[in-house]
């Protein structure tokens, strides 16, 4: 498949994530949208990695060019998992305090 398809797809996914973060008020959905953006970037990393690896393999069968992108994705996933656990904990605490998961409630720092 041409690389453009991946790029279009990731762009769409990322945009959906951004729009979701900007428009939704439910903290859990905002959180999910952030995950969406992360995964869009992950997918793009994997796609570019595969593209570069494929191109380099034709010249040198022993090459490892480009595979560090795929390795990087694992790290991102681990970090994302950690982030999810912390984020969900924050949301739970927030719900306990305000009985709501609406992020517009969290504006008490403004003054």
């Amino acid at each position: 498949m041409p690389i453009q398809y991946y790029i279009y797809f990731c762009l769409a996914l990322f945009s959906i994530g951004i729009i979701g973060v900007l428009t939704r008020r439910n903290a859990i959905i905002v959180f999910m949208c952030i995950e969406l953006m992360l995964n869009a970037v992950n997918l793009l990393l994997v796609a570019f990695s595969k593209m570069h690896y494929g191109a380099a393999l034709a010249a040198n069968p022993n090459t490892t060019a480009g595979i560090d992108g795929q390795l990087f994705v694992f790290f991102i996933m681990v970090v994302a998992a950690a982030e999810v656990s912390v984020g969900l904990a924050i949301i739970v605490m927030m719900y306990r305090n305000t009985h709501s998961v609406d992020i517009n409630f969290l504006n008490r720092l403004k003054n």
């Binding site: 453009q4 951004i18 900007l22 428009t23 992020i103 517009n104 969290l106 504006n107 720092l109 403004k110």
Partner: protein
């Protein structure tokens, strides 16, 4: 001799420090003894210096005693040096001698003051004498300038001595500011000399004077003369001197006789070579001097304040001195400084004695017949009046005659106008004398009851000064009376030697001089007779509002009003404009505006922090987009998009 020169100004300085610092702890008599004693010591030292200089003969022209280097920059040094020669020792004697008498007199006159203020008074008085000594003894123009400024400061402090009275403070400020105008001229002249010759030492300047261009000399002398105008109260800077009467009376005596106003004369006499080489400036000096002499005399005719009459007479006499300087008779001018110091100090101290007896009444219309109550004051005052009027053989006659004879030799017109002024002098002095001492007493009964002769600390200086006023003239007997008996001229001749060589003076024939003296003396006597007769019978009923010229004179030609309109008010208006408009709207506006702008803009910026996470994110994303657009220019983005689609 070199070792003791510095003692002369040191004594008054010590007196100033002791009295100034100890004014709260010392007793009145201690303050008086210290204050007068230091001047006496200074006077004795001066006498010693004088005897050395007088016996040194003509070979020794001057002694310069360098104490230390005052300013030393690169190749240029100004030493802190004193010059002792015939001119300066003569002035030292006048300043310390008359200064001592005035101090002595003050110790009685100011008895009623609180101890603290009494100490302050003597401290200022000592500082005044110290400054004047510095002025006279300095061996270069910079040291002279230090003293020059010092006397200006002290006159301010002493005129405003009773600082609780706002009018007096105003008079003090006026004196100071008027002097400052003159000082600027003096300072410019010093800088000009420095620029052209690179030195300010008298000896160096006078020996190099030939290398200056005519224009330079004329400019420097004119600027120096402007300085002298301020200090010695000449037109147009004379108005401070009559107002200086706000100070205690002995201070007036000190300012008018021994110090301050003679500074200008001294400075010109000291720089006589410069002035002799600038004939235009000399003419200017003669004209200004003559105009001042006449102008002040006309004002004095109609004044009713005893001190004001004396003040204007000082201005007038100073005019004569400048006339003398202007026509090249430096000896005559210095001679008149000396005799004037004697009789003017006497007049002021006499007036002080009168004021003391009259309980601070200064209006001569409210006096009269004081000769009955104050015999010593009366006699001494009369002698001083005769001296200032120019009746032979009193001292004023000789000195004034010398100036007028020199003026006649230069231009007979000067002489005739000068004689006119001398006649007016006789008139106003005897008007003052008659109103004060003759006729019948016109004050209140209470005042009459308390009339008394002053204590001996006040009358002794009067008697000493009276003796000096009577016999002081004999040191400068004109040549007509006795060949080569003019001791003063002989004494001062080394100082003015260079000028005498340059100046061409014609000598009058003896018969002509006798005739002139005779006519003038007779005229003065007639005027005195008229004045005494006219004002002897003065009563309050004669009082009527002055009209025409009389009113003009009584109001001093409205010169103060003229200055107010021409100078003071425009400057005030400009200052008001600066204060209200430039300061308030301009500078304050800019400063406060910056502050207001910051606080306004931050108040507006604060609204961005809404607390809405979504809006923060939106701004973040927009910022990133903008960042990308700026970071990668349009072309890169277009390429990328083209590749993509």
């Amino acid at each position: 001799m070199n070792k003791i020169v510095f003692l002369v100004p040191l004594f008054p300085l010590l007196g100033f420090l002791i009295n100034g610092l100890g004014r709260k702890s010392l007793s009145k008599s201690a303050i008086g003894i210290i204050g007068s004693g230091v001047i006496l010591l200074s006077f004795l030292t001066s006498c010693y210096l004088f005897s050395i200089v007088a016996s040194a003969g003509e070979g020794q022209l001057q002694t310069v005693v360098t104490l230390f280097n005052f300013i030393s920059v690169d190749a240029f040094t100004i030493p802190f040096a004193f010059q002792v020669d015939q001119l300066s020792v003569l002035f030292l004697l006048i300043i310390t001698g008359i200064g001592f008498l005035i101090h002595l007199y003050s110790s009685a006159y100011m008895k009623e003051e609180e101890t603290q203020h009494y100490g302050r008074y003597f401290a200022y008085l000592n500082l005044f004498v110290f400054s004047m000594l510095l002025l006279v003894m300095g061996a270069n123009y910079v040291i002279m300038f230090i003293g020059w400024e010092g006397v200006g400061l002290c006159s301010y402090l002493l005129i405003g001595y009773w600082f609780k009275n706002n009018d007096f403070n105003y008079a003090a400020k006026k004196a100071f500011i008027m002097n400052r105008i003159g000082d600027l001229g003096f300072l410019l002249a010093v800088f000009w000399l420095l620029f052209k010759l690179g030195t300010v030492n008298y000896g160096d300047v006078f020996s190099q004077v030939a290398s200056l261009s005519t224009f330079d000399i004329a400019a420097i002398t004119t600027l120096l003369f402007i300085g002298a105008m301020g200090k010695s109260a000449q037109i147009p800077l004379y108005t401070w001197l009559p107002d200086a009467m706000a100070g205690p009376t002995p201070v007036s005596a000190l300012i008018h006789a021994a110090t301050m106003v003679t500074a200008g004369i001294y400075m010109i006499a000291r720089s006589n070579i410069l002035f002799t080489m600038a004939p235009t400036t000399q003419t200017l000096i003669a004209i200004i001097g003559l105009a001042t002499a006449i102008f002040a005399a006309t004002i004095a005719l109609k004044q009713n304040d005893i001190k004001k009459v004396l003040a204007y007479s000082t201005v007038s006499q100073l005019g004569y001195m400048f006339l003398g300087l202007g026509v090249g008779s430096y000896t005559g001018a210095v001679f008149h400084v000396m005799t004037h110091a004697f009789f003017k100090a006497l007049l002021f101290l006499g007036a002080g004695s009168v004021i003391h007896a009259m309980h601070h009444e200064q209006d001569i219309r409210k006096m009269g017949n004081l000769k009955k109550f104050m015999p010593i004051t009366h006699i001494t005052f009369l002698l001083a009046c005769l001296a200032i009027a120019g009746i032979p053989p009193f001292s004023g006659f000789f000195s004034k005659d010398e100036i007028l004879a020199a003026a006649f030799a230069k231009n007979p017109l000067y002489y005739y106008i000068g004689v006119g002024g001398a006649l007016m002098t006789a008139f106003y002095m005897f008007r003052l004398y008659s109103l004060t001492f003759l006729g019948k007493f016109r004050g209140t009964h209470d005042q009459e009851h308390h009339l008394h002769e002053s204590p001996s600390a006040m009358t002794i200086p009067l008697i000493v000064l009276a003796v000096l006023s009577v016999f002081g003239g004999f040191i400068g007997i004109p040549e007509v009376f006795a060949e080569n008996k003019n001791w003063l001229e002989h004494f001062l001749s080394p100082i003015f030697a260079e000028s005498t060589k340059l100046a061409t003076t014609e000598h009058l024939s003896h018969s002509q001089e006798y005739m002139m003296m005779g006519i003038v003396t007779v005229l003065i006597a007639v005027i005195i007779f008229i004045a005494v007769n006219k004002f002897k019978k003065y009563t309050d009923e004669q009082e009527q509002a002055e009209t025409g010229v009389g009113k003009l004179l009584e109001n001093k030609w409205y010169i103060d009003e003229l200055y107010n309109t021409l100078v003071v008010n425009p400057i005030n208006a400009f200052a008001g404009f600066c204060k209200n408009f430039i300061e308030k709207s301009g500078i304050d506006g800019a400063v406060n505006g910056v502050g207001k702008l910051v606080s306004y803009s931050s108040r507006q910026l604060r609204l961005i922090q809404s607390g809405q996470v979504a809006s923060y994110l939106l701004i973040m994303i927009l910022s990133i987009v903008v960042f990308f657009i700026i970071w990668f220019n349009d072309i890169t983005i277009m390429k990328f998009l083209n590749k993509l689609f």
